[in-house]
């Protein structure tokens, strides 16, 4: 077994060095990978470009392989463009919703995406990063650094818990994606390393217990819309952390709790399509229809 990583340990190191968590992560990861910091950032910017293309694919409104999702990112785009006072959540979050759906739909239709941390949860990070970038004009370099923060958070979650729905439920996929995005958002808004940790802890607490129950076993329902929910959770937590709100339960303990909840979760709720929405009457009906198509 690899040694468990600790997010608090990294946060403390950054605080003692009096540098931002992003700068700490770049130094640390570049050393770990034995590559130049510039190269690391460039590779992250490449990922961001792929993400931008995924958004564009999704916004064409294409339909998914299983035919259960598609066109919803586009719907939000149209709704947003009609008038600003129509939005319940405001322009930034509505943009995040649009991007999350678009990337989720691009993924479901065999488009090219960045698994971050997984394909099913690939809409969450682009949603948060690009909607905030539009609001505040962040550069690709700044977004790349935020992506490294997100990656570092994901590494800790992976080492203490899991990033896969099959092992830990959707809390491990969309929950982790949201936690990573929340940390990235705090970094972008100039929050302290400590605040990055608080945002991660708050996000995961709010998504604890989320089950993985894909209809017909496909990464379509509920996955695509869950990415929009995850993006919103990330922004809510980042806002709290930046306001100075602390999680009562420390971040590493929250991650460990998520691992324990994942282990306690029934196998029917971990990607097997044998529980939750997958076995709702409509879920079963849709699955039967799709499997009949396979047989014929």
């Amino acid at each position: 077994m690899e040694e468990k990583l600790s997010l608090q340990e990294w946060i403390d190191l950054a605080e003692t060095k009096k540098i931002s968590f992003g700068d700490f992560c770049i130094d640390f990861q570049a050393k770990e990978l034995e590559i130049d910091k510039k190269v690391l950032l460039e590779r992250m910017e490449d990922m961001l470009h792929v993400m931008e293309q995924s958004v564009a694919i999704g916004l064409t409104g294409i339909a998914s392989m299983g035919g259960l999702v598609g066109g919803n990112g586009k719907k939000v785009e149209v709704y947003r463009s009609e008038s600003t006072d129509k939005s319940v959540v405001g322009s930034v979050m509505s943009k995040a919703i649009m991007i999350a759906l678009a990337v989720g739909e691009a993924n479901a239709s065999m488009g090219r995406i960045v698994a971050a941390p997984t394909a099913g949860a690939s809409g969450t990070l682009p949603a948060v990063l690009f909607s905030l970038a539009e609001a505040r004009g962040f550069s690709m370099g700044e977004l790349g650094k935020a992506l490294i923060v997100a990656g570092a958070i994901g590494m800790v979650i992976s080492s203490r818990a899991s990033l896969s729905g099959a092992a830990g439920g959707c809390q491990a996929e969309c929950g982790s994606a949201a936690a990573m995005a929340a940390g990235a958002a705090v970094e972008l808004y100039g929050g302290s390393p400590e605040q990055v940790g608080q945002a991660v802890a708050i996000t995961l607490k709010n998504m604890l217990g989320l089950v993985c129950d894909p209809v017909a076993g496909l990464v379509e329902v509920p996955c695509v819309k869950r990415n929009a929910g995850a993006a919103a959770q990330a922004m809510v937590a980042a806002e709290m952390a930046l306001a100075g709100i602390c999680s009562v339960i420390p971040v590493d303990e929250v991650i460990d709790a998520m691992a324990a909840v994942g282990n306690a979760m029934s196998c029917t709720l971990k990607e097997t399509a044998q529980g939750g929405l997958a076995v709702s009457p409509t879920g079963i009906l849709l699955a039967n229809k799709l499997f009949a198509k396979v047989e014929s």
Partner: protein, 220 residues
């Protein structure tokens, strides 16, 4: 685990296990065959059998057998290019038994030069894969390292000769495993290495005594 396992890989959706993993299994099967595929008969087991259409697993396997990477945007159209290349591919569902991983696949491959092989593998999550059987030899390897696969006579010194060639080329052995069915019969060996194995070493190994065939497996 490094940061690019979390932010990445770049891949064609929708599923790292059912799509990206399927491409990689195709890549590995192609490398094991050692030549272009002329005909592939593919059996899908478990969740692969149930959900392959919705995940594009069939398209992904075909893409992998054509040597494409997991982020190749041609993957959704891989059947068209297979048809153009006169590469014949067919799918059915099979039951490999309860002990098999739910995302398992078996390939019966015939190459352009008439070589044949039967490869079984599984996609075990996050795009990671494992090959579990080659031509009835239970094996275990994942393509993370450059590797060579030999089929050889089980004779004293057969293995030492291979590793000595590698060491003279400065190639370090990371892991190796030998499988045989009976003493003195045909054996399979997988040598995973830290450095890629160059053409010269590869050719010399193929000419060693007792070696029946050798394949080089190098994924990106």
């Amino acid at each position: 685990m490094n940061i690019f396992d979390v932010i990445g890989p770049v891949m064609i959706g929708p599923s790292s296990s059912h799509t990206a993993g399927a491409v990689r299994l195709g890549n590995l099967a192609l490398a094991i065959l050692g030549e272009g595929v002329k005909e592939a008969v593919i059996g899908l087991h478990g969740s692969f059998a149930q959900t392959y259409r919705g995940h594009g697993t069939d398209l992904a396997l075909s893409a992998g057998l054509q040597g494409w990477a997991t982020d190749d945007t041609r993957i959704p159209k891989s059947f068209d290019s297979a048809k153009e290349a006169k590469f014949d591919i067919s799918f059915s569902t099979i039951n490999l038994g309860d002990l098999s991983h739910p995302n398992s696949v078996r390939f019966w491959l015939t190459g352009v030069n008439g070589n044949k092989c039967i490869v079984t593998g599984a996609s075990i999550g996050g795009g990671r894969v494992v090959v579990t059987n080659i031509d009835d030899f239970p094996v275990e390897f994942n393509g993370d390292f450059p590797a060579i696969l030999t089929m050889h006579r089980d004779r004293p010194g057969a293995i030492a000769l291979v590793t000595s060639i590698l060491s003279t080329q400065g190639v370090n052995v990371a892991q190796m495993k030998v499988f045989r069915k009976q003493k003195g019969g045909l054996a399979a060996m997988i040598v995973e290495t830290d450095q890629p194995i160059d053409d010269a070493a590869f050719e010399v190994i193929g000419k060693l005594p007792h070696i029946q065939s050798v394949r080089r497996i190098q994924l990106v």
